[in-house]
Each structure stands twice: as structure tokens, then as C-alpha cells.
């Protein structure tokens, strides 16, 4: 029989501590939609997405009601479009429009996979897709894009870093009217994963089944509330508390994923063991770090506290579900986390500290607003730095920076909703242009002699 304390704990976690399922993401393969005629290919893409995901939102809402837990987003990821569009030999923007229309038809708020994988070089279709990203993101509402520029096995494609520095700027420039939002829908990865349910970097890898369901959980507020009960505990006890609470959070993700997969008749993919913040009060990863004992996130000790948090979340979550994958870890998107926003505004949290933090957590420099006059080569160098951390540490890293066109340090960009608002953070003024313009490939790192 259920214990009264357990029942009330679950209800408190959901009602007061912002426990939710962040996303149910349906991955759909578009490999069978390839056609040299772009109109035919786009029609196949639209039909495949609307066919497979017809009931996704309805089933998501049903589960939400039944288990009494909010499922914030229902989303779709597809095969990287560069693979699908290569045969058409023209601009792939119509694919973005077909994805956008399909997303609207089935009622999902974002669709990911306008992507290219170029860690070791560009193949047919890759450059066309990359060059079309600014137009695709400016002319659609729900499409998200990602480009993988490096991996531990392949090294870093510095030519791709350079191109992406320019593309990120163009995405912001073409969407100035909507607070440069285009750049918020573009992620540049190193070691990207094929089963990530989180936007904007989700795509459906070619090694995946035709269709599957991935789930991303959330719950920073729950972790913080649990830690609040142990003000004098040692750090080993803190790790145990986080593990236990991460177990409970992840169990709900597993339940929702399995139930959704049964009802949709689609295989269950993975649960992403994540702590994903929102700008809402009480849903912040930065506040967990502060609860552990930092006066403000970003100060000395932040990297160590985050490493402990990230590791404990994974250890607790691993036992809670049958399949784990995605990005799995604590996210630190600046604009989407009330504590991070405060720390950045106060000047405690700098881009250098964020970079150090990304070495020990999931995923990377995320939702960071940079000055509007930032050179493309500087953004390329930020991408290369972040990719190097991922490459050397065999982990996923990513860059999602938003150049605030026409704005400077001291101002901010505000998107509202889950994307939040971010202060413009200062960058170094010295130019990395010569380094970036050398081009070529940074060789893959040694896998032994690790020091």
C-alpha cells in the first residue's frame, strides 16, 4: 500500500517544486523521403512527419492528465536534413518550410534536425544546408538547427568553426525584429548525440530506428528543496541526497516514456537524465549550487559543486531507467535560469567560468547573449574552444550564443517564456582571426597518456 508521506511528497514535488517532464520528443527517420525532385521530397517529409506524429500531442496530454504531471513540450526530431537534401542539389530551405508546416499541423512547438554533421569535412549537401540556415530559421517559426563540427574520433573541423561563426551572426542579423531569436534556434556541437530529446540540438541519428520516443526530465527545484533540508550535511551526504532525488525524478521519466511508447505504438528510445532549468522561480540549477554553499553561482568553487551535482544526477538516474542516453546531465543555459541570469548581471558569472563549467557538465555555452558587434571570427573561436573541451574530454559540448545586434554590455535580450532573458555578457576584444583563418582540421586527441 502507498504510504501517506510518499504520496504527499510526490504531490509537493509537482505542485510546489516544479517537477515536470520537460519534453517527449519523437524521433522520425526521413531516409525514405530522399528524392532528387525537391518538391516531391518535401511532400514526402511533410507526409511522413504528420503521419508518424499525428497523435503525439494528444497522447502527451492524456498522459499528463492521468499521472498528474506536467509535460511541458511535445517535440519532433528528424534525420539531419543535409543527408536528405543532398540529392536535390539546390537550397534546402523548402525542407525547413515543410518541417515547419508539419510541426504546426501536429501541434508541436519545436522541430529539430535542420542539421549537418561535418566533423571531418563537408560532403554533398552540407555547405548548401549550412549556408541556408539563417534564411531557414528566419523564415520559419518552429524549426531548429544544429551543426556538428568536431568529435573525439575525428578532431575539429576548423573550416566549419569559421563558417559557423559567420552563420551564427547572420542568424541574429536576419531576426533583429524578434530579438535575434534565430541564433537561439541554432546549436554548434562537438560530439553531438543521435538520441538527444532537447532542443535546439535534437536530431534523429541515422543509426536509430524508423521512429522512436525519447524523454527529457527536469527538476532543479526538487533537488534544491531536498538539499535545503540538510544545511549542515557533509558533501558526501549531499551527493547521496542528490542521487536519491534524481532516482525519483528519473523514474517518472521512465514511466512517461514507456507509457507514451506503448500508446503510440513506437519503440521507447531513451530517458535523458537531465536537470533542465526554466526561468521560473524555484527552477534553477544555479540555485542548487548556491544551496550547496556558494554565495553566488560563478564564484570559486562553482566548477567543483557542478561536477558533484552532474555526477550524482547520473548515478541516481542510471538505476531508475532501462535506457539512458541523450545529453544526460545538468544544463546551464544562462537566459533560461533565474539564478544564472542574476549571477551574470552581477558580474560573478563570466564566459570564462561558464566555459570551465562546461568541462564538467552537460552541455556547453548555452543561451549566452554576446555584444552585437562581436566579429564572426570571435564567435568561431568560441566555438573552437568549446569543441576542444568536448573533443579532449570525450563529452558533448555545444555553443548557442546570441549576438545582440545593436546592443552592448549592460543591455539585455528578452524572449519571454521558456527561453527567458539574458544580459549581454562581455567578451575579449583581442582578435583570434589569424588562428581561425588558418583553416584545416585540428587532429583528434591521444586516447592514452591522459594528463
Amino acid at each position: 500500500m502507498l504510504n501517506t508521506y510518499d504520496v504527499l511528497e510526490t504531490i509537493r514535488m509537482i505542485q510546489e517544486e516544479c517537477l515536470d517532464i520537460r519534453t517527449i520528443t519523437m524521433g522520425i527517420s526521413l531516409l525514405d523521403c530522399i528524392d532528387h525532385d525537391i518538391d516531391k521530397a518535401c511532400k514526402k517529409v511533410y507526409d511522413k512527419i504528420t503521419g508518424r506524429a499525428a497523435r503525439l500531442v494528444e497522447v502527451g496530454e492524456q498522459i499528463e492528465k492521468e499521472f498528474g504531471i506536467p509535460i511541458i513540450n511535445k517535440r519532433i526530431s528528424v534525420t539531419p536534413i543535409a543527408i536528405i537534401s543532398a540529392a536535390c542539389k539546390c537550397s534546402p530551405v523548402p525542407f525547413a518550410k515543410a518541417m515547419d508546416e508539419a510541426a504546426k499541423a501536429v501541434g508541436v512547438n519545436l522541430i529539430g534536425g535542420y542539421s549537418a554533421l561535418v566533423q571531418k569535412g563537408f560532403s554533398a549537401g552540407d555547405m548548401e544546408l549550412i549556408n541556408s540556415i539563417p534564411e531557414a530559421l528566419a523564415s520559419t517559426e518552429r524549426v531548429c538547427s544544429s551543426v556538428n563540427v568536431g568529435s573525439t574520433k575525428a578532431g575539429i573541423n576548423l573550416d566549419a568553426c569559421k563558417v559557423m561563426g559567420r552563420i551564427v551572426r547572420e542568424c541574429a542579423e536576419q531576426t533583429v525584429d524578434s530579438a535575434c531569436f534565430g541564433a537561439a534556434k541554432l546549436v554548434v556541437f562537438c560530439n553531438s548525440v543521435e538520441d538527444n530529446p532537447f532542443m535546439a540540438g535534437a536530431y534523429h541519428g541515422v543509426g536509430m530506428p524508423d521512429c522512436m520516443i525519447n524523454v527529457g526530465v527536469s527538476g532543479p527545484g526538487v533537488v534544491r528543496a531536498a538539499l535545503k533540508k540538510y544545511p549542515d550535511a557533509s558533501i558526501s551526504q549531499i551527493a547521496d541526497v542528490i542521487k536519491k532525488i534524481a532516482y525519483k525524478i528519473t523514474r517518472v521519466g521512465q514511466l512517461v516514456g514507456v507509457t507514451a511508447s506503448e500508446r503510440l505504438g513506437v519503440p521507447f528510445g531513451i530517458v535523458d537524465l537531465s536537470l533542465a532549468p526554466t526561468p521560473a522561480v524555484g527552477d534553477s540549477v544555479a540555485h542548487i549550487l548556491e544551496e550547496i554553499g556558494l554565495e553566488r553561482c560563478g564564484t570559486h568553487g562553482t566548477t567543483a559543486a557542478l561536477a558533484l551535482l552532474n555526477d550524482a544526477v547520473k548515478k541516481g538516474g542510471v538505476m531508475a531507467c532501462s535506457r539512458i542516453g541523450g545529453l544526460s546531465g545538468a544544463f546551464i543555459p544562462v537566459s533560461e535560469d533565474a539564478g544564472m541570469i542574476d549571477a551574470a548581471k552581477a558580474g560573478t558569472l563570466s564566459i570564462e567560468k561558464l566555459e570551465a563549467m562546461t568541462a564538467v557538465c552537460s552541455v556547453g555555452l548555452d543561451m549566452i547573449v554576446v555584444p552585437g558587434d562581436t566579429e564572426a571570427d570571435t564567435i568561431a573561436a568560441i566555438i573552437a574552444d568549446e569543441a576542444a573541451i568536448g573533443m579532449v574530454n570525450s563529452k558533448t559540448t555545444a555553443v548557442r550564443v546570441i549576438p545582440a545586434i545593436g546592443k552592448q554590455v549592460g543591455e539585455e535580450l528578452d524572449w519571454g517564456g521558456l527561453f527567458g532573458c539574458g544580459p549581454v555578457m562581455p567578451l575579449h576584444k583581442e582578435s583570434p582571426a589569424k588562428f581561425i583563418n588558418r583553416g584545416g582540421q585540428i587532429p583528434a586527441p591521444m586516447q592514452s597518456l591522459k594528463n
Binding site: 504510504n3 504520496v7 510526490t10 504531490i11 505542485q15
Partner: protein
């Protein structure tokens, strides 16, 4: 299939009666009830069988929530699986 109905709020006469009447209207069979009143805070947890519901689960949940609102109480109706998965290995 079973659901857990939790009722939390200020104590008053007839809460149990009203909630169980609503369950009966939907043909949800009450299996177990635990209830306590601490000072004047009322907390009740009710386990109901929902395998023979008249209508769907969502309408039972919505009507119970509405009943709670009209009485100034918080009523949550959730499938028991969420509690089992979270608190049992």
C-alpha cells in the same frame, strides 16, 4: 487500474461524503481511505478502482478538481503508477 485521490485543505463537515459521491457518480469504487486532521488542516488520501469508470479518467479528474475549487480544497487525482514507480524499486 487504480488512482489516488488526495484532498488537502481546511477541515469542514462532509468533505469525505462529497468526494466519494463524485467518485460514485463516475463508477469509481473506493478501495481504501486514510484521513487525518492536524489542527484544522484536513488531509485525505483515497485509493479508487478506475477500471470500470463511466466515461474517461480526465473527466473524473477535472470534476474532482472543480469540486475542490468550490470547497476551497486542493484535490489531485493521479494514476497510482506514478507513486509506485517513484517510491518503490
Amino acid at each position: 487500474m487504480r488512482a489516488v485521490v488526495t484532498v488537502i485543505g481546511k477541515d469542514a463537515v462532509g468533505i469525505l461524503a462529497k468526494v466519494s459521491t463524485k467518485c460514485a457518480e463516475h463508477n469509481a469504487n473506493v478501495i481504501e481511505v486514510t484521513q487525518s486532521v492536524l489542527q484544522d488542516m484536513f488531509a485525505m488520501i483515497m485509493l479508487v478502482d478506475i477500471s470500470k469508470l463511466d466515461g474517461d479518467f480526465a473527466s473524473l479528474a477535472d470534476e474532482l478538481t472543480a469540486l475542490g475549487d468550490s470547497l476551497g480544497l486542493k484535490i489531485h487525482t493521479m494514476h497510482e503508477d506514478i507513486f509506485n514507480c517513484m517510491h518503490h524499486i
